[in-house]
């Protein structure tokens, strides 16, 4: 346990090695939130208007909640795994007495802790500047459900990242391309990170909700907003947990196959 705690601390400090870089990365996140905020703020100019099942307070809460949920779910160092495989750096870890999965999970947690603390500062600053109407959830049961959904979401993202990072075992040149397609395009759009999934027509919503993507952002935020309750919430948890189990075992299986195919290119 101690070695992972050391990895956590080193990874945390590593993020500060290029301070301006990190700050710039956070500024990029703030830009995205500002764009989304003004888009929805313009649409919901009338506070009593209800569109797509949201009123002004709930949609602006969705936008602000994105900051925290993104920091907790989509902040991950495991995006670097792909290059480890493609460039042969994976060999350095295979000879060490550590679990490669646990190593990156620890680094992810460290990245999430750091990003969360910055997101909290940005949240407060933007809250003071933009003064949005905000929905504070006070129900402890809902807050607990929200936390559980976040843990599942983060683990789903971890499994997806590891699955796409396995592509270079067989095709080293496809590392960045597969990440672009899945982590940047599919997850960004289908997770609800850019817009709530309820904007889509019902049929499309059903299709998207049957994939693991909306359980990374959209579902946790809906739980926080209290828009998904009772049986719908239980069903959501069941689907997301099933996806987590499926992805976890797929990841293990693909990595076992991948390690047998691994040729340590570049070493």
């Amino acid at each position: 346990m101690n070695k992972y705690w050391q990895i956590f601390k080193i990874s945390f400090q590593q993020e500060f090695a290029y301070k301006i870089n990190f700050i710039m990365w956070r500024i990029r996140n703030v830009f995205q939130i500002i764009i989304t905020f003004f888009l929805w703020s313009t649409i919901f100019n009338d506070p009593n208007q209800i569109i797509f099942g949201y009123d002004r307070t709930k949609i602006l809460t969705y936008v602000f909640a994105l900051m925290i949920v993104r920091a907790l779910v989509l902040s991950a160092r495991a995006v670097d795994v792909s290059s480890d495989v493609a460039e042969g750096n994976l060999s350095n870890y295979l000879v060490k007495p550590i679990s490669y999965f646990k190593y990156w999970l620890t680094r992810d947690i460290s990245s999430k802790a750091l990003n969360l603390s910055f997101a909290a500062v940005e949240f407060s600053a933007l809250f003071l500047i933009l003064r949005p109407s905000f929905y504070f959830q006070t129900d402890p049961f809902v807050l607990l459900s929200f936390l559980i959904s976040i843990v599942i979401a983060a683990l789903i993202y971890f499994c997806i990242l590891f699955l796409i990072s396995a592509v270079p075992f067989w095709a080293p040149e496809l590392g960045w391309a597969s990440q672009f397609l899945v982590a940047i395009v599919l997850i960004e759009f289908l997770s609800g990170a850019l817009f709530p999934i309820d904007v889509l027509p019902l049929t499309l919503q059903k299709i998207v909700m049957s994939t693991p993507f909306p359980y990374m952002i959209f579902f946790p935020v809906q739980v926080y907003l209290g828009k998904i309750t009772g049986m719908a919430q239980i069903q959501g948890f069941l689907i997301s947990f099933t996806w987590l189990v499926v992805l976890w075992f797929s990841m293990k299986h693909v990595w076992n196959k991948g390690l047998k195919a691994y040729q340590a290119f570049g070493r």
Binding site: M24, T42, I43, I51, L174, W176, L194
Partner: protein, 262 residues
């Protein structure tokens, strides 16, 4: 004229090499192309369904909002196609390989800016231009509006070039930032929607200080007949000014180049 021919020939050779390098990895090319097409389609779909539910956005109809998004893509994709080399510039500075550009008898800015056009973006340009033509024709523009639209789009590309030159210059001055170009991309993404959705003073900043509005929103508004004559003149003045300032910044940055690691 002869110099122009010389640089066109160099651009052609570099573009051919760059295309060959990418076409050598066809599966990766297919992945990127699919990703770009999906991203574009998802966003257009989102805008369409959004306006279906809200009826309008800041007073603009669905076709108009989609047209703003298309113009954002025209400027974004054309500048990625032309200035892709900017994305590969920082490693040259960090390793000192920029020395090899400086010793060549060609303009270092030209090579750093336009030394490798992007084949993926090239493939997306024709369908995008067709979409611009189709959606633009739904807005029933007059001949004058079309001319103004074309002139302001060129002005937008000039501002985009200025931004890219500024990114190159910053890479020379500061070794610590490795995704300035992505910050530029994030800034321009404010132009995905009509600039009118932003509240003051942000709207003013985005129009005149960081001229994303002039770069993206103004050409679209010109086609809709929503730009005044002083607005057009100010746009061209800002475009030219931004380009001149970026060239000066480049010259200033070149003097700071330390040739580290080489």
């Amino acid at each position: 004229m002869q110099k122009l021919k010389y640089y066109f020939k160099i651009w052609w050779l570099l573009t051919r090499d760059s295309f060959s390098a990418v076409l050598g990895q066809r599966v990766a090319l297919a992945f990127f192309l699919t990703g770009k097409i999906l991203r574009f389609s998802f966003f257009v779909g989102f805008l369409y369904f959004l306006i279906q539910g809200t009826k309008s956005l800041a007073g603009y109809s669905a076709s108009q909002v989609i047209f703003f998004f298309l113009i954002f893509n025209v400027i974004d994709i054309l500048s990625q196609f032309l200035f892709r080399e900017v994305y590969r510039f920082r490693p040259k500075i960090v390793t000192g390989d920029f020395d090899l550009t400086l010793v060549k008898p060609t303009n270092a800015l030209f090579i750093s800016l336009m030394g490798g056009a992007d084949v993926i973006d090239f493939l997306t340009i024709p369908p995008l231009l067709f979409a611009v033509y189709y959606v633009g024709s739904l807005l029933n523009p007059t001949a004058l509006q079309v001319i103004l639209f074309l002139a302001l789009t060129l002005n937008g590309l000039l501002i985009a070039a200025a931004f890219h030159i500024a990114v190159l210059s910053l890479a020379i001055i500061s070794l610590e930032i490795d995704h300035t170009i992505m910050i530029y991309r994030d800034l321009t993404s404010f132009g995905r929607f009509p600039i009118d959705i932003y509240r003051q003073p942000l709207q003013g900043i985005l129009t005149y200080l960081i001229p994303v509005g002039i770069m993206i929103s103004f050409p679209a508004r010109a086609l809709m007949g929503l730009v005044s004559t002083p607005g057009v003149l100010i746009s061209f003045a800002i475009g030219i000014l931004a380009f001149i300032i970026s060239l000066r910044f480049w010259n200033f940055a070149l003097k700071k180049y330390s040739s580290a690691s080489s």
